[in-house]
Amino acid sequence: MTSFRRILVWGLILCSLTAAAACRKKEVGPPSSSGRTLDIAVIPKGTTHEFWKAIHSGAARAGRELGVKILWKGPQREDDRAQQITVVEDFISRGVDGIVLAPLDDRALCAPVRDAVREGIPVVIIDSGLQGSDFISFVATDNTKGGVLAARRLVEILGGSGDIFLIRYQEGSASTTEREQGFLDTMMKDYPAIRILVKDQHAGTTTESAYQLAENLLGRFPDVDGIFCPNESSTFGTLRALQESGLAGKVKFVGFDSSPKLVQGLRDGHIHGLVLQNPTRMGYLGVVLAVKHLRGETVEARIDTGVTIATGETMDTPEIKALLEPEFFQDRD
């Protein structure tokens, strides 16, 4: 019986240690200004991508400024709709005061959000849309505007005419489709001198698939003048293909989102423009709006967190630098 008992004892020790650790953590939480501290749950689509880390840092800053506690928790496996539903349900069970959610699916998350509202928990939706109107506000990038901005920049550096590719991201992805549509509409309507050689090819979800597509397209149309890609992975894949084929810098290239590799491409003159979102602001505003609503103030139903374009000339200005290299949440809380 001794080893059985030993295991039991170890188990108990482990549990009490965890408990102790958790209790201690609570004592160092932010001081409350008016009685009880508000608990705001912030639920991203995943936790490991840089975009979400920037959102986390924005949410944490809002938490510090407003004196509310931020509970940051994504689905255990990235991009798993079922697990995100579970996370929302568990936070409803905990009885948090507000929820800030980046829904993985515009439909699957409707039921849990309705449950939250029924329990009197206000929900702010960030990043991607949700069907219905159960939430108090929707804070996201205006993606169409991002596409328009990219089109204007590409035309500017092309000098008004030339042959271009639009490399699409993936079928069924709402945000990137809006960017592509904004780009395409602007080109067709405002710039008849631009000829679009390719507009219906999808790069797929990985850098590798984007690389292959761009390589094949460059093989077929080596005299192309300009390219636009609507997200980080397609931009990076195309950048690699341009560099490998020796066309980098010669072909004018506008991409979307930022990463250290893309910043380097911008510095080397291989990328001529990057459309940037503002995830830090998205996380920050999500929490601020939830708290405002809880304190009885009215909040706007739709907030655009803005898009900006970074170019080789502007990349070192403080505002653009902050967007190109957003602060990441470092505290292991």
Partner: protein, 324 residues
């Protein structure tokens, strides 16, 4: 203490051991000051029960397979495929009962193919189901055209509603299905000839065959049955998501296998119980629920669940050595 008393304590402890883990987990979160009152509320237990349904249904079938000395790595892909089949059927205008049946039968078919390949090609279950894991996932993505399928809402989506209609049901219909099937399967496993054959095959397949058990037929039956449960779990997944998502439940087969193992199932075969499996399912669900309520990051939860799997199996080994 007399030897007789010792033996009785041992039997009691053996019976209690799986419960112990569950009690520990619930006690742990009941002691946390931040979530204490909330954690023990009936509403929270209701939502944990609903969250457990999919893994539990998959684990009922997996218990049979593991007791028979096999393994099914394709369970999660099968669940995803079945959920896509239901969404597809609803979308092309099939009446909900037909869509539901299509989902369950699709699961059963995948299980039947698994069992058939294992027995006719004499391949180890690990290889066959590893292959099927990819095949079923691929077919699901193909069927759904590499996206999710949006299907109109029907009563199928009410099966996993946390507040069920009619309200006298108290728990979601899916939870009741889980309970009914658990009781039924416990009965089949313990009290029927088929159930005893499952144990016999897992303990020693050659001996079982020499004793006149038609092991091949029994194995095909076991995998088909497990497939049907995956199909039902797929229906529940669709009910919960309201869309058919071919990428859902990636890696869930490991949760299902872990539940069986935590509940005392032996991967060497010949051991396991439905009650133990359900306890394994609930240990993991409560841990997940508690960790989220505490706002702990995912890595803590993953580490704890990993430690529990090793501890549970370690405990099992200790008991075995003692019994031997």
């Amino acid at each position: 203490m007399s030897g007789h008393d010792k033996a009785r304590i041992k039997i009691l402890l053996n019976w209690l051991a799986p419960f112990l883990g569950l009690i520990l987990v619930i006690a742990l979160f009941s002691l946390m000051p931040e979530v204490r009152e909330r954690f023990l509320r009936p509403a929270n237990f209701k939502s944990v029960a609903t969250q457990s349904v999919i893994v539990a249904l998959g684990a009922l079938g997996m218990t049979f397979i593991i007791i028979s000395g096999g393994i099914d790595l394709s369970a999660a892909s099968n669940i995803a495929l079945s959920s896509v089949v239901v969404a597809y059927a609803v979308n092309v205008g099939a009446p909900p009962p037909a869509a539901l049946a299509a989902g369950i039968l699709c699961g059963g078919l995948v299980g039947f193919v698994n069992g058939g390949l294992i027995t006719t090609l004499r391949l180890v279950p690990f290889i066959v189901t590893l292959g099927m894991m990819g095949i079923a996932r691929g077919v699901a993505k193909w069927m759904a055209g590499n996206q999710k399928i949006d299907a109109p809402l029907t009563w199928i989506n009410g099966l996993m509603a946390k507040s069920p209609r009619p309200s006298w049901l108290l728990l979601a219909p899916g939870v009741w299905l889980m309970i009914v099937f658990a009781v039924l399967m416990a009965f089949v496993l313990r009290r029927t000839v088929f159930g005893r054959h499952v144990f016999a095959i897992g303990s020693n397949e050659a001996t079982a065959r020499l004793c006149g058990i038609r092991t091949r037929r029994a194995k095909v039956l076991i995998y088909s049955l497990s497939g049907l449960f995956c199909g039902l779990a797929g229906v529940m997944e669709y009910s919960r998501l309201t869309v058919g998502d071919p990428t859902v439940a990636v890696g869930l087969e490991l949760d299902i296998i872990a539940a069986v193992v935590i509940g005392g199932g032996s991967l060497a075969g010949g051991e396991g119980s439905i009650l133990g499996t359900l306890i394994g399912v609930f240990i993991m669900s409560f841990l997940r629920n508690g960790c989220t309520m505490m706002g702990w990051p995912n890595y803590i939860q993953e580490i704890i669940i990993g430690a529990i799997i090793v501890a549970a199996v370690g405990l099992d080994q200790v008991r075995h050595r003692r019994a031997a």
